[in-house]
Amino acid sequence: MASVKEHKSHDMGLHQEVLTGRTQQVFFNPEESENFLYNDAYDVDFNKRTSIDVEKLNCIEVNSKIKDLMKQGYGTIVLKNPGAKHSLGVGILNKLNLIIEGSLGYFGVGSIDGPVVRISGRVGWSCAENMMAGKVVIEKNAGSCFGAAIRGGDLICKGSVGARSGIDMKGGTIMIGGNAGAFTGFMMQRGRIVILGDVGPNLGDSLYDGTIFVGGKIESLGADAVEAEMTDLDVDWLKRKLKVAEIDKKINFSKMTKIVSGKKLWNYDNLEPTERKGAI
């Protein structure tokens, strides 16, 4: 059995390097030539289009096929007959137009970084979970934990969504054309949620940071979620984002309710344990 020290990372010097005090200047020159894609990304052409019939394939086969097609330079891929299968279109770290003709099961298009995805049907739990960048548009409804822990990008559901949408989100924008369930924005840390319809109880419970905009009625606010004043920048951003979301609704943006963190639950200074000790 090979020892840990025989791993090639030791030969590459990764275990000897000093990390403290290192800055980006070590790694790159800000003046270097323009490059908009990750180092190992596939150079795809949006005009090169193909389709996959998913009916007789499992999710691993479909996801491998998408990767192979991207390697061949296909920039637009259509998934036909998805049949609400789980985990389709996950882990795409590339620019791509992915069109899904039908509905997805659990964890659809999770952990993506870059693609534009259009889904003509519905989606199950945790759609676009941990999404990093890109745009996902769902024409119908979504299940619970919609956009769980997303970090970036635009996630749009034109219909209604279940409970705990945007739970633990750390960035990005979630837009909901219909209603949202209980605990929307639960433990949200950053980013924006826009709900054009009504929202269930405990909105923004334990909200650490980020912003929630609601067009309809709010059943109740969660712990530390408070109302804030809408600014002109908010209204401009909402107008523009609704166009990006392709939601065709007439909205009076100035009448929307803005929810932010009351910051009463913020508790992260170093002295706190000492103070607690003193109090005891």
Binding site: N35, F36, L233
Partner: protein, 132 residues
Amino acid sequence: MAKKKKNKTSSKKKDSGIKTTREKMIGQHIGYRYDVNLLPDYTRLTPFLKKYIETMGWDDLNWLEDVHMGYENDKPAVFDRNINGWVTAPKNLKLPKNQQDRDMIARELLIKFQMSPNHPLVVLKKAYKKFD
């Protein structure tokens, strides 16, 4: 006289971010030192960012809406979620006063850093990748 004036400026600078009673008591900042919820002003979009949006096939800044110019050890820096660390701005880079313009520069810097063949994750991938 000049020396006295210098001292006044430095003490003012040191205390400028510490405002609340709680912060004064513990002698440090609570929370971020910039507005993490600041929405981007699209009138200040740079040509580099316009080209990036076009290349990716998006309609706007997308994930970069959450990127702002922050600080690390009092130096301007941008947070890279891929390395889970701060990337300090080059010393010779002159930063504008307006936060919106600073954020646009932060976004450019972050793209250049992440897409560089010298990015730390490229090296880590070479060492540890298990499949293509």
